[in-house]
Amino acid sequence: MGNWIYEKLLPMLEYLPYVLLFGVLAALLITLIVTLVRYRQGKPVRRSARDTLWGYFFIMPWMVGICIFFLGGVANSLLYSFYNLKLDSGLQLTPLTGVDEAGNTVYTPLANYVSVFNKELNFPVTLGNFAVSLVLQLPIIIAFSLIIALMLNGKIKGRGVFRTIFFLPVIIATGPVMSQLTAQGVSSVPMVNQNTMAVILADFPEFISQPIMDLFSQLILILWNSGIQILIFLAGLQKVPTAMYEAAKIDGASGWETFWKITLPSLRSMILLNSIYTVVTLATNSTNPIIDLIYNATYAVTKGYSYGAAMTWLYTLVVAILLLITFLIVREKKEKKSKDVFRQDMEGRARAAQSKKLSKMMGRRKTA
């Protein structure tokens, strides 16, 4: 079993990104040749063929970049996680072996993954903490940035200055400045007494209380992380047609109703975009403790790169699951649309008014 994996399956992995790259290249060439042949025969070039050609042309530079420098690395890291990698004189890959009960040497491709769970006692705990804090932070970031975006979209003096201030943390949120700031305790809310919090939360199990404590000690840090989200919401808000607000106002809708029935549904795709962006940035942020664990393991003498790669893949799996859950919760639901009576009503009225106008015109034409 292990033998087959090492001899047949894993070597194929190395070529996976190149298969994709060459697949796109081949598709481009085939379409090009077919189109040229048809053109030579005097047949008109089909629009779909032209579309395809341009599509591949536009996607190509990015494909080359991502396949060679990123996917190549990703596939290789998966490959190396099944080996023992040494870099002292060139690249040396030795298959992982173990001894079974009968004393025979057997291949154990998953040994790195198993040892992550055996050796790295911190890993599952940190992973769990990360998942819980993500669940807590995501709604806060989304709600906060939505509120700020709503306020910044309003008519106030000095709006440009406020927008700049809210976006500024984005451009300094990386690097040594941030770690200096957190070390100084700037990121916690001064009003919230840490000790009081600890007393209140003492009755809860640690896996719940710890993330909540972290949440409060990092509240400002979380708010600093929401610059891009505010920006995306602002862009979404400005795309909502003003005519809809006017129609709602005429019908006597309050600001509260307008928000829930018009603003929020219009922002649905932006909320999805923001949620995914937030999960991704939180997960790959360099201040994330899991990234720290992986980094330390990768450069530790006793563990090494293959071990770090195994950890990365486990982590990526968890992040993917979290992303999928986020997507399923936030995505646009088709059946919900039909239930949105208010919106339908608005649209229906607009249509009725239009047809009335039309019939009036038609009637006038008839009489004329």
Partner: protein, 288 residues
Amino acid sequence: MAVGGTKVNPKKFHKNQIPLYLYLVPIAIFMGAPIVYIINHAFKPMDELFAFPPRFFVSHPSLENFRNLFQTTADSSIPISRYIFNSLIVTLGVVFLSIVISTMAGFALSKMNFKLKGPVFEVNNIALMFVATAVTIPRYLTINALGILDTYLAHILPLIAMPVCLFLIKQFIDGVPNSLIEAAQLEGASAFTIYRKIIIPLTKPAIATGAILAFQSVWTNVETSNLFTSSEGIRTLPFYMNTLTSVGTVQGQGMAAAAALIMFVPNLLLFIVMQSSVMNTMAYSGIK
């Protein structure tokens, strides 16, 4: 109504705005704190840098940290201008190329129909959530195999395909109305003209945001200098700043604070330049 979509700043102050200010001003103070801190920290003399409990504001500002920093750079064998030049080339190269590549790919993924479109976008999603530290060693091997170790290309090429950039820009291009593109096609515009005349102008906010993100990730990047270069003459400014300030002496802390301010200033300048296009988001795409 507070939720209307207007573009211009109101000229006058009105009483109705006061409640909004009550919320916005305190939050803005929190959000602006790190910038104030960076500036204050760089001017702190030695005794204030190490004061306990640490203080937020500087009480006796001095230029001592900057003086130390410039003295040290003057003593080194390679002039600091060389590092600045390298950093400029690398940063400009990455920002420009990554924006061109991302907008092109975003246009294709969002508005064109071709096979393999789905898998390509999936690839981007995978790249988006993969931890970058994990690919450094395979990346080194790739760069070694390409034979571009110790060149500017080793700084630039690994970073130009930014998944976050593509993701943001693609989502924005999704919002460009299809009817606009169809109208252009009817007028006989080629895909390239559409890209240049419609997509680029309409997605300026996303492009500006992407440019800022790309700039920030390159400008402070020490990894490429650390791993893919071996001669000093090709390394970049953040790497040099890191070597200066990581010596571990007491002076190093002060120099680190001054260096942080120097590294931060271009970020701020770029943002102020980009600000108007970031903020005037695509309110008016020409079609209702």
